[in-house]
Subunit: 405 residues, 2 copies
C-alpha cells in the first residue's frame, strides 16, 4: 500500500471557554491507503497543526509534514517507524510538526492494524493487553465545596481513583490549596486513589511546592503532577528528594522521545505521563513506555479528550502489566462525548480494557461530529495551500492533501 | 505605553530549494507602542507561526500568542519578562508559540531600547559590548573540490574562522567525510578556525561519530556541532568523553530556556548555540547566556539569515567578553542580503561589533523587501482570523492583529 490521502477535521464546541478543559476542540485525522482508512487525533491547537501540514518549505530541514507522509509505502510496522523518523528529520525546524505527526502516526497505526486484522497493541509486539485502573480526571472547583461534590460524583460513578487539577490550585495560599485537597480526599473517600495536578503554575519554584507537601502527605496523594514546567529537571529532582512519599509525575508536554527519556533520567519522576497526540504518536509513545519500564518508572497516558484518543493512548503500554493506571476523561465537553459511539467503559471495579477489535477499536461518529466541524482555508500569495475536509463518504470534495490542489 | 499592534510579514525568494539554506524565507515582525516601533524575526516556517498568532483558543493553556501580547503595558524591562512568561503560560500547549514569541520578543526589545535611546545590550544590563570573531557559515559542497573553493573564498573575504555543515557531510562513508573536512582545512589555511556542523544526521549513533574523530582531530576542528538530535544528551556526553580534544556544540533547536539549561547540565557541551529567533527571543537567550557563563560553557549565536537576526542574536551575550565568537551568514540568499541596508561588517581582523545605535541598530529595508512579500490569509468557519500586513507606511490596511478584524 501507499499512503494516498490524509484529511484533517477541525472540531469545536460553539464557544470555547477560558478553562483548563482540553476537550473543547479536537483535530481529527483520517489516512487512506489501499482499501483501508485509519483515524487519529492531534493535540493541540487544530489550526496551527493544519497550517504545518502543507506550509511552504523553508529549507531542506523545514518541510511541511505532508512531504514526508504522502506517497510513502505502508505495508508493515517498519514503514511506520520510517515515516516517523522521516517527518522528524525533514521537519526538524518546524516546531509544530511533532503535534501534527502525532495524529497522523496514530491514524497510520489504526489503518495498518485494521489491514492486518489485529488490535494495535498486537502490532506493537504485545501478546495480550492488561486492564488499566481508570482515574477520573477532573478540574478543581472554584471553591472546595465544588471540588468535594465532584469527588463524590466520581466515587458514585464507580471510580476508585481520581485526579484533581488546574482551576485555582497552586495560585492561592497554602491553606486554600490544602482545603481543596482535603475536600477532594473527603469526597473521594479514604480508600480511593487521589492524584493532584498543578498544571506547571509553580514554574520552578520548589519552595512553593514544599509548603504544600504536608497536606499532600496527610491526604495520601498518589502523585503530584507537573508542579513545574517540563524542562525544570532540577526542581523536580529536588522536590522528589524532599518528599519521597509523594511521587512526582510529569511529561505531558514532551513532544519527542528524548525529552521523555531525559525526564526519566534526570527529573526523579515516579510516573512519566505521555500524550500520544503530542509525543509523536503511538510509535514514539511505545519507545517511551519501553524505556520507562526498563528504568522502573511507571508509564501512564495523558488523555483529557475523546475515546479515540483514549484508545490510542492505551496501546503503547497495553501489554505492560505493572503499568496499571490510566487517565480517563470523566467530564468531557459534548464534543468529547459525541466523538465515538463505542466507549471504553470501566468495569464495576473501575478497570478499563484496551479494545480487542482491529486497529484502535473505536471510530469517530462522523454523523454526530458534523455540527462541530469548522471549515479552514489557508491562502499564501492568493493560492489555497490548505483546505479542511468534509465528512463526505468519498473523502470530501476538498482534500487536505495540498498536492492535489 | 501599551502594545498596540503586531504585524507579520512573510518574505520568501521566488523558489525555495531543497537545501540547508535557512535564509530562503523569513518571518519579519513589527510591533508598535506609543510613538515607537520595533522589528524582530521568527525562525522558522513563517506560515505556521502566523497561524499561531491568532488561532482560536483551544483551552486556558492553549491560547493564541496574541492573547498575551496585545494591549500589554510596555514601559520597562520587567514588562518584557512579564509578557514572555505570560505567553509561555497561556500558550503552554501550543507548540509553535515559542517560535512566534521569539520574533515578537525581539521586536519588543528593539522598540523599548529605541524608546530609551539605548542599544538593546545596555537594557540587558551590559555596560559595554565586546566584539565577536565572525565565523563564516557555509554549506559543504557536493564534492570536496567545491568545499575547498568555498573555504578559499572565506579566507579571501578576510574571515579567520569558518564553519562547514550539512550538504553531504555525515551521510556517506568516513573517508568521504574525511575528504570534505580536509578540503575545508586546506582551503581555509592552517591558521584558520575550522568548525564542523553535522546537522543531527547521526541521530544518536555515537559509533558513527566516533569513526570521524581521528580526522576531526587531525584537522584541528574547533567544535563538532549537532552530531545528534538536541535531546540525545547521553550520546553527546559519551562523545564528549571519547573526544575531549573536539568540543561538542549544540542547542540551536532549543525553544525554551530549560532545554538549553539541560543541555548545558547533561550533554557535556563546550558551546551552547542559541537561536534568538527560536528560544523565546532576547529575554530567553539572555537567561541562557547567563547560565552558560556561570557554568563555564561558551555561548554562541545561531544565525544563518539576516543582519537583523544577527544583531538580535548578538545582544544576549554582547557584554560577555570571554564568549567571543559568532556565527556570521556568509552567503545568504538575495533575501538575506537585501533585508537591511545597514550591515554588521567584520573589521579587517574578522571581528564584528555589536551596533551601538538605539535598539538593534539595524532596520529592515521595507522598500527592498516588497518584492519578497507573500500575502497570507487564514479563514476559520468562513471568517478571516489572520491576514498578513503590507509595508504601507501607516501599518497596512490589513493588520495582523486579529482583534481589529
Amino acid at each position: 500500500m501507499k499512503i494516498e490521502a490524509v484529511d484533517f477535521y477541525y472540531l469545536s464546541i460553539p464557544q470555547v471557554l477560558d478553562v483548563g478543559d482540553g476537550s473543547q476542540d479536537a483535530l481529527l485525522v483520517r489516512v487512506r491507503a489501499g482499501d483501508y482508512e485509519g483515524w487519529g487525533e492531534c493535540e493541540a491547537s487544530p489550526l496551527v497543526s493544519m497550517a504545518s501540514w502543507n506550509c511552504p518549505m523553508s529549507h531542506s530541514a523545514c518541510k511541511p509534514v505532508s512531504a514526508s507522509v504522502l506517497g510513502q509505502k505502508l505495508d508493515d510496522v517498519d514503514d511506520l517507524h520510517r515515516v516517523n523518523r522521516l517527518v522528524r528529520a525533514q521537519s526538524l525546524d518546524l516546531l509544530q510538526a511533532d503535534h501534527t505527526l502525532s495524529g497522523v502516526d496514530i491514524a497510520l497505526w489504526d489503518l495498518l492494524a485494521r489491514a492486518k486484522g489485529a488490535p494495535v497493541f498486537r502490532l506493537l509486539g504485545y501478546q495480550k493487553s492488561f486492564p488499566k485502573l481508570a482515574y477520573a480526571s477532573q478540574l478543581f472547583g472554584d471553591d472546595p465545596s465544588i471540588t468535594f461534590q465532584r469527588a463524590c460524583d466520581v466515587r458514585k460513578a464507580g471510580f476508585r481513583a481520581a485526579k484533581f487539577g488546574w482551576g485555582p490550585y497552586g495560585l492561592g495560599t497554602s491553606q486554600e490549596d490544602a482545603d481543596q485537597v482535603e475536600a477532594a480526599r473527603e469526597g473521594l473517600g479514604q480508600d480511593g486513589i487521589l492524584l493532584v495536578d498543578v498544571g506547571t503554575v509553580w514554574y520552578e519554584d520548589v519552595a512553593r511546592a514544599e509548603q504544600r507537601i504536608a497536606t499532600l502527605k496527610k491526604c495520601r496523594v498518589g502523585w503530584l503532577e507537573e508542579p513545574f514546567v517540563s524542562g525544570a529537571f532540577k526542581a523536580y529532582h529536588r522536590l522528589a528528594q524532599l518528599a519521597p512519599e509523594v511521587p512526582m509525575a510529569g511529561g505531558e508536554g514532551c513532544h519527542t522521545v528524548h525529552q521523555a527519556i531525559n525526564m526519566i533520567d534526570y527529573a526523579g519522576l515516579g510516573y512519566i505521563q505521555i500524550d500520544t497526540g503530542r509525543v509523536g504518536g503511538i510509535t514514539s509513545a511505545k519507545q517511551v513506555a519501553d524505556y520507562a519500564d526498563a528504568k522502573g518508572v511507571r508509564f501512564v497516558n495523558h488523555t483529557f479528550t475523546t475515546h479515540l484518543a483514549l484508545s490510542a493512548s492505551l496501546q503503547p503500554y497495553a501489554g505492560l502489566e505493572k503499568h496499571d493506571i490510566c487517565e480517563y476523561p470523566f467530564a468531557p465537553s459534548s464534543l468529547g462525548r459525541d466523538f465515538t459511539t463505542t466507549k471504553l467503559l470501566p468495569d464495576s471495579q473501575g478497570w478499563v480494557n484496551v479494545p480487542s477489535l482491529p486497529g484502535l477499536g473505536v471510530v469517530p461518529d462522523t454523523a454526530a461530529l458534523k455540527p462541530y466541524l469548522q471549515e479552514v482555508e489557508i491562502l499564501v500569495g492568493g493560492k489555497t495551500v490548505f483546505r479542511s475536509s468534509t465528512f463526505d463518504p468519498m473523502g470530501g470534495s476538498a482534500p487536505s492533501t495540498g498536492a492535489l490542489l
